[in-house]
């Protein structure tokens, strides 16, 4: 036992007691469970047809090849609109949404959190209330709004329905709550006007929350087919997710194009993975700060 501890110390690994070992094992099992779909997506995309339909299915691919991707590109090449147009749309919409949602959320959360204007609690409650609506419930009113605004078939039709994102306002608000009031007052005394306080004090101090919201916003817009389905009539205005969904729709009992669907799933997934890996550290900070236990005053941060 002593030798093991010595070895752990040598490798700079933490020495754990019984309970911690138990928890760690439990977490490892959970994470394997969570990891499984990701591993499956990667392997599935590389499986030849012969392996796609094996029963019972294999998780790991035996003879990886690029046949599925070839099929996907073949299908894509034969469509009227070049695939690059869909990709451009998706990237443009996603980047725009990420910037827009982050900006709107932080701009909305700051006054609710720090300027206790009359009725700020009601406003916040309403924002939280909107979380409870199923997306399907608002599709028709949303359609009416977009149609009346005359932004059908434009990029605004993609952005606007996504712009108000209650979850991100909530996360931002909880995070800004943790910033001590004294910091803002000190900035006032230093001569900062309202917007300077926002720009130089609030925004830099909630970068972790910004990163989290960016991930959520990216995921929401990248895989969003609702706006393309409902508000875009022209094919060249639809996004990549929509294009892929047309490939894979109605495949439940169909053998054709299963390979292309598997490849498409991987392509859809990869940007999410990278964005998450890039921002994950900050995401954890946000969750810890705005967590449900979050009553702990973060005076420490300011000290």
């Amino acid at each position: 036992m002593k030798k093991i501890i010595k070895l752990l110390k040598l490798l700079k690994l933490p020495v754990m007691d019984g309970f911690q070992i138990l928890i760690t094992i439990q977490l490892v099992i959970f994470s394997v469970f969570m990891l499984l779909p990701i591993v499956y997506i990667f392997n599935h995309a590389l499986k030849p047809y012969s392996e796609l339909f094996i029963y019972p299915p294999n998780i790991f691919v035996r003879n990886p090849n690029s046949q599925n991707f070839n099929e996907l590109f073949l299908v894509a090449a034969s469509s009227a609109i070049p695939i690059t147009r869909y990709l451009f749309n998706s990237v443009f919409i996603s980047v725009g949404s990420v910037v827009g949602i982050t900006f709107v959320s932080i701009l909305c959360a700051y006054p609710i959190s720090k300027h206790k204007f009359p009725g700020h609690k009601i406003v916040f409650s309403i924002i939280i209330l909107t979380l409870m609506f199923a997306p399907e419930a608002v599709q028709i009113p949303r359609y009416l709004v977009v149609s009346k605004l005359g932004i059908m078939n434009t990029y605004f039709g993609h952005f606007l329905p996504l712009l108000a994102m209650p979850v991100s306002v909530f996360l931002m608000k909880q995070f800004i709550d943790q910033i001590p009031d004294e910091l803002i007052q000190a900035a006032y005394l230093d001569g900062a006007k309202e917007f300077s306080v926002f720009l130089y004090i609030i925004v830099p101090n909630c970068m972790p929350a910004v990163a989290t919201v960016a991930i959520l916003a990216f995921q929401a817009s990248w895989s969003n087919i609702e706006t393309s389905t409902l508000f875009m009539q022209d094919d060249e205005m639809k996004n990549f997710a929509y294009f892929l969904s047309t490939l894979t729709n109605n495949l439940t009992n169909n053998v054709a194009r299963q390979g292309a669907a598997a490849a498409a799933a991987l392509i859809m997934f990869i940007p999410n993975l990278f964005i998450f890996l890039f921002f994950q550290g900050k995401m954890i900070t946000t969750m810890a700060h705005s967590g449900i236990k979050g009553s702990e005053k973060s005076g420490k941060k300011s000290e």
Binding site: E182, L183, A186, L189, A192, Y200, N205, S302, E303
Partner: protein, 365 residues
Amino acid sequence: MAGLKIERLWKRYNDTAVVKEVDLEINDKEFIVFVGPSGCGKSTTLRMIAGLEGISDGEIYIGGRVVNNVVPADRDIAMVFQNYALYPHMSVYDNIAFNLKLRKVPKKEIDRRVREAAKVLEIEEYLQRKPGALSGGQRQRVALGRAIVREPQVFLLDEPLSNLDAKMRVQMRSEIVNLHQRLKTTFIYVTHDQTEAMTMGDRIVIMKDGVIQQVGTPEEVYDQPVNIFVGGFIGSPPMNFIEGELIEEGERLYFYNQAIKIAIPSIQAQHLRESKNIRRKVILGIRPEDIHQNSLAFGNRVQAEVELVELTGAEKYLHISLEEKKVVARVNSRSIIKVGSNVELAFDTDRLHFFDARTEQRIAN
């Protein structure tokens, strides 16, 4: 450089007033300390001076100008917060320079002033660090540095030492006093610690429940507390209070209750007679250091059993009971007194304070 004047200042939250009718004049270059228990309105008053709280009623003048509706940035003040409120994402240098940058001071000038302040406060080595990497004392200095570079007319300090450990607190205490002498600016300092108030202030403002109790130099508030609250708040351990009656026996006036009978010196007796307090209930106040052991004074002795002995090193405190009332006496630390033993203590009659039992205000002198 400017003085400050507060006229009939009120602060109300809904129906509860937290600052009531505060009138105060603060001279130019003065170091004034607001002291009182928590919730007495001292911080609120300071925050009203800073402009961080609205004023319900009354006026605040800085350098002869009414500042009620002036935004904090234009009041020509600087404030140091209890938790320092350093911007965590900026380096020490940027923290100190933030104000100057906002005021669009030329870069060279900013650099000169920041380095000068850093030199005064001995934080030159930390300029590139983030506040998170500093100790409490260093953060305190950065917060002071941020105030210094602005060259304000008035410095406001809101319990700046309460987050420091005891040793650091004593050190920073003298450093802030030195800083005041060096900058020759008006300082307004809020604390709940009477030691800080006594050691630092040119004048002390004692507040309770939103009302100023007494304003005076440390000597004045210590030697002539206007009421029981001030007497009990200033000084550690606090003043002893003993209830009793004033009675006349022949020519002499005595303070009398079941346990003690003290002859009052003739000058003070004269005052007490004039203020018509004879045969009325009064409260006698006496500081622990004015109760002596082995005194040569006649007459004013009490016999009591020692209930507790506290040794602080330099001195020793004896706790005794007089008619159920706890009384603390300060004696020589080398005296050999044990719990349970009987002592004879003498009251220094030149240092007696009398308060009205009903109003708790000081009677005569």
